[in-house]
Amino acid sequence: MSIQHSISRRSLALIIAAVILMLAPVLAGSNYFLHIAVLVCVFGGLATAWNIVGGYAGQISLGHAVFYGIGSYTAVIMMLRFELSPWFGMLVGMVISGIAAVVVSWPTFRLKGPFFSLVTIAFLEVVRLLAIHDQDLMGGSSGLTIPLNIGFEWMVFREKEYSYALALFFLLLTLGVAWLIRRHKMGFYLLAIREREDAARAIGINLVSTRIRAMVISAMLTSMIGSFYAMYLTFIDPDATFSLAISIQIAMFALIGGLGTVFGPVIGALIVLPVAELMRGWLSTYANGIHGAVYGLVLVIAVLKFPRGIVGGLATLTCNEKARIQSLLASHANKGFLQDTLPAQVSDGKVILEADGLVKRFGGLIATNHVSLQLKQGEILGLIGPNGAGKTTLFNLLSGFLKPNSGVIRLMSEDGEAVNVVSPTQCARLGVGRTFQIAQPFAGLSVLENIMLGAFLHTSDVRAAEQIALDVARVTGMENQLDKPASELTVGGMKRLEVARTLATRPRILLLDEVMAGLSPTDIDQAIALIRQIRDAGVSVLMIEHQMRATMALCDRIIVIDAGAVLMEGTPDEVVNNERVIEAYLGSGYKNAA
């Protein structure tokens, strides 16, 4: 009931806001206000499109004006050369921008932070110089003027009201796309990549294709608005369109409004742009340039007061997520996740994961030295050894995060075929779930969203992912923390979240890297029970663990690694009574205790 209620109230608020947006400038009656309203729509739209890459995916592009410029020039050139309607030119521009986005993001997707930004600036600069030097098609530095064909099909109007209606339409279209992305799997995936790349790969997210898709969508929307704005201005030139200043302005609106939020960028444009324009109008009569100073002051205050953006700041005040999760939990039927949701498997003792002669060198150091191991279906295999022996390196090899210098890793697929492991994403899709020794939560997201991200491996539906996440939360004892940001969990809580997120991917093989470190003895007892249940559901488990109590209680077999090589392999009893293991790993205290 309450969910329905809050949704209808929210949509009502949106409708009211839309009506005000539509009517206000028209009622104001002055062309000047209408012009500012068009500007707000255009820049709000551009910032919204930018936010898909800059906010959701966290890749700060400072060359987005390139797509804006491509949209402008394509529409104008098609009109001048072939007398085609800008509506058609707009579509062509979007296609070209989409292709350009692939060209830019394919080689640069590995770059992070300032490096990605620098490349986008460089790309923008190259295109601007090309435009200046191309006299024939693009009119060189003097630009192109649009013939005054009035009418809807030419996107040029005598009355500004029509331009405003069209600008609003494009803004709403862009917002709609941004909203859809945020509510769907793609939005979750983009946020996950932004927060932690390795963890994202471990749950089966393809970083390259997800990022490129975001870039293409963002570029196409930017281009669309560029085409419209060119028609509105009726004149374009390289310096004003392929402009770094515009690129930065777009990013700034998103930053001030709230990076990564759906409505933040528009709110940013809505607040900052009119202030800037009105300052220019009112203050320039007193002293030339003073509007710039006041504008700057407003920006500094905005950034200081709302470090997470205006919408980001408000979101924490109107936190109804907790209530929503409570009602979700209340209405959630308790399904036996381990029995019903995990892929049913017969524990027939066949080898499901096999490493043969693995060697991994880091420079002169041999981290993994001819290691072979077999994990059988339905068993719990322990991996112990001194710190620095190469256990985590072996895990990274088995899950595709590192490539071995020699040796092979074979994985039995669900159909019983042997597949060579090549990448983390492939591994996750074949049913290998892994946790990280240093927990890697998606810190900015809630616990619920973190677990949902794992569930997205096998579903694209947000509701279904939510249900799986609730099931998993119940099994792993995280029900009471679902609404918390993952960053606020204790170390033990983060370890538990690692397991929960991995379980949600419905693995057939579970690789656990020290999930019990930092847990209290009672928590360890619970964790032991959980891992046993997971195994009983047919999942094969390979675990690195220093808590000998857990290793002894759980493992069918134990492999001891020392200095990169297998020291011995055997049952728990054989291992703890082995002199070499005691000397290298357990210590004399353990010998006496045992």
Binding site: I384, G385, P386, N387, G388, A389, Q437, I438, E488, T490, V491, G492, G493, E514, A517, G518, L519, S520, P521, T522, D523, I524, D525, H546, M548, R549, A584, Y585, L586, G587, S588, G589, Y590
Partner: protein, 235 residues
């Protein structure tokens, strides 16, 4: 009394996580704070070190108040923390990590002797001085973290989960190191999940539950307390 905490309160937003606790540490003692996950142990330590603000109560350190002072001033007063999960500077060398520990005024003068004494406690680090801290194994990283804390020449050293992620052999050695440091005259607070081993080396302990002190006493008393036995010793 070296450290005296009275009615300390800490809140995250509207939630009060530390609800008015009292405890004290005498000079030369090893005191442990026990408690389950989320009991608030790390929060207490962070409030002591000025890493998060307290919302009420007083912290007195050698007869003057340090409540809500900035973290670097508290380090200047002689309190160092070895944080949970090591928190080294991964892209600096081991040597630089250690040197940064001696940033405290007064510690700089005796830099060389401190450095030698850290290498005396952890001889393994001598071979690793020019390696990046991030490339070390978990046990070696923990050694650097402790070494960095010692470089500040503190009077009070706070350990947050020193045995986290260490092999049984190294856990044993780590507790040996803590005992050795204590013998040299330092006062120590330890937070650990390895309750049994901690109670072996500590003098007194406090049990924290839901942000309040549920139990306190000497380690002998705590070890034989049925509540502690059941909740923290696991049998």
């Amino acid at each position: 009394m070296l450290l005296n905490v009275q009615n300390l309160k800490v809140s995250y937003g509207a939630v009060e996580v530390i609800r008015g606790i009292d405890f004290s540490v005498n000079k030369g003692e090893i005191v442990t704070i026990l408690g389950g996950n989320g009991a608030g142990k790390t929060t207490v330590l962070k409030a002591l070190c000025g890493l998060i603000p307290s919302t009420g109560g007083d912290i007195t350190y050698s007869d003057s108040k340090i409540t809500n002072q900035e973290a670097h001033r508290i380090v200047e007063r002689g309190i160092s923390m070895i944080p949970e999960g090591r928190q080294l500077f991964p892209y600096l060398t081991v040597r630089d990590n250690l040197m940064l520990g001696a940033y405290r005024r007064g510690a700089r003068a005796q830099l060389c002797t401190r450095f030698d004494s850290v290498l005396d406690i952890f001889p393994k680090l001598a071979d690793r001085l020019n390696q990046l801290a991030g490339s070390l194994s978990g046990g070696e990283q923990q050694m650097v973290a402790i070494g960095r804390g010692l470089m500040a020449q503190p009077e009070l050293l706070i350990f947050d989960e020193p045995s986290l992620g260490l092999s049984p052999l190294l856990v044993e050695q780590m507790f040996g190191v803590i005992k050795r440091i204590a013998r040299e005259g330092l006062t120590i607070i330890v937070v650990e999940q390895n309750v049994l081993a901690t109670l072996e080396i500590a003098d007194r302990g406090y049990v924290l539950e839901n942000g309040a002190i549920a139990l306190k006493g000497t380690c002998e008393d705590l070890k034989s307390n049925p509540l502690v036995k059941q909740a923290y010793l696991g049998h």
